[in-house]
Symmetry: C2
Subunit: 160 residues, 2 copies
């Protein structure tokens, strides 16, 4: 079970966007974490499709969050990049073989599938409770309060 590596980039980039009221050009987001343009564009598109960021055209075109960072959960970002299919998919193997249960008696998911779904729910719940604003605050706390100021200063200094 492996999550797309783009999730790390997307979460960090949403934290970056939370520090700017102005649109941030894709090139700045690429530069900040050293990602190639195509990689950056692909993941910004996924975030845009999921309604997490919006792009604005014009002289200072770029990306902004569509909502306050406190209203965007880590779960939304993860699912925008990695998809929202549960990791475990039941292929109804209980219906197969000499003791196969007839499909008409399988309206309720199998007990094993329910246990796996319960674990997925616990995972989703943990990430739904963490917002981009929480992550920004935690990163800031780890740096004794300089990290987000550095981001804001850098975004201002590199604005053209």
């Amino acid at each position: 079970m492996k999550m797309s590596s783009g999730v790390e980039w997307a979460l960090h980039s949403c934290v970056t966007l939370s520090q700017s009221h102005e649109p941030v050009p894709a090139a700045r987001l690429a530069e900040l974490h050293g990602t190639p343009p195509a990689y950056t564009a692909k993941h910004l598109q996924a975030l845009s499709r999921a309604g997490i960021v919006r792009s604005t055209m014009g002289q200072v075109g770029g990306y902004t969050l569509t909502r306050p960072a406190s209203e965007i959960s880590a779960l939304e970002v993860v699912q925008a990049i990695d998809g929202d299919e549960p990791a475990y998919r039941c292929a109804e193997i209980r219906q197969r073989g000499p003791l196969g249960i007839p499909a008409e008696r399988c309206s309720r998911p199998c007990a094993i599938a329910r246990a796996m779904a319960g674990a997925q729910d616990a995972w989703s719940h943990a990430l739904a409770q963490t917002s981009i604003a929480d992550l920004a605050a935690d990163i800031d706390a780890d740096s004794d309060g300089t990290a987000m100021l550095d981001v804001r200063n850098w975004l201002t200094a590199t604005r053209n």
Copy 2:
């Protein structure tokens, strides 16, 4: 994020093995859920390496659980098949780019990596609390108490 499809087979097969004091031949386990011999052998090997099943040779050679089913968690079975690497892997992108944090100041995992690890812990915890015996009991309850009796009867009837 996608889990190996062998997890479903392995969980069902451990439930089956929990119904037998006698070794169950691999061919019976293959037959029960309609899996090809190579697939069956590969997953039994993984369960064996993880110390969940043991194989016995001899006239009635086959597989048994190494411990009471109440002492084998769903998590152990999932990790035996799907590996125990966390789904999210931090590539330390915070160390890259113009605002990169020097490695020596990164001894604590990034706040984003901590949030993702917290979600993984919630998932693991849910599966660690569910035993193979719990799953057998739940499957039995779903069938009004006939499913495990059917398995035991079938295993006895097909013993050679």
